[in-house]
Symmetry: C2
Subunit: 182 residues, 2 copies
Amino acid sequence: MKLPMNYCSNCGHAVGRAVPEGDTHERWVCPDCSMIHYQNPKIVVGCVPERDGQILLCKRAIEPRHGYWTVPAGFMELEETMAEGAARETMEEACAEVEIGHLFAAVDVPQAGQVHVFYTAKLISDFAPGPESLETAMYAPGDIPWDDIAFPSGRFALEKWIEDDGRNNGVHAYTARRRLIG
Amino acid sequence: MKLPMNYCSNCGHAVGRAVPEGDTHERWVCPDCSMIHYQNPKIVVGCVPERDGQILLCKRAIEPRHGYWTVPAGFMELEETMAEGAARETMEEACAEVEIGHLFAAVDVPQAGQVHVFYTAKLISDFAPGPESLETAMYAPGDIPWDDIAFPSGRFALEKWIEDDGRNNGVHAYTARRRLIG
């Protein structure tokens, strides 16, 4: 697996594939300035915002999975922690403030080059759809629209959150073997 | 924080900084082909390989922190899970096979744009220094060379591993606020 790359982002020369000296993997390398362009998985950070036993979900206004429900989650940015990223995504997607709890689910998505991590969270504000959401709503565990959940990783997080029932049972791990996004 | 970039890796044109429409962050964008070059944190995966109550450590043969001790850890690659990456790094750095257990420590390193995650592991083979290690050795918890541990994240993992004493106490979280690497 490699992400497409045509030109060196340092010097602009056309790049090629090679195994650098002392390395174990083939990389994009620049034959002109010798820069090695490493490509690594990205982290998606999310949370399960809870209040009075109900969970805040967002109906997606964007592709992929437009119109399906999800917990707030998105790509982690530079300069933030995973918990800060999960809270930021909740503000962006549901205009909602949360107090992040503990990391309870980690989902590897190797075909997409992603790792999805999920935190418990307490909802401590009002909520409303952000620009990437059509709707936001609170669901009791018994009323979650399982047939309309956007992604297997979010479904796994919701299932394990319900199983844990407020306890910290360590990290639930799962590998999603089919491409989820893109 | 941004990582340096001069030219578009898609078309070779010089890039500039801009906030794409609908985005919340400034990115490198190409004024010619319109490609947005997202930059996100990288994941370092490691483990604490244990046998008979002792821990396998590696003395680094490379910078940064040449000559200091560390648990096996390194950058996660595309196409692998976090657990597979932690096992691969142990094979590369200590020529050792492990059975990965559970994720027990997660360290955010925002200044370096990294997240370091650590797993418990059972050492199930012989061991020897790989090309990036000067020495490999087993240490009882009471004999760990704390003054010569390479990185704060690895020190945190060793401390919490000892505290947990074989139990799964969930993920211990820590934010390392000073640059660790580079």
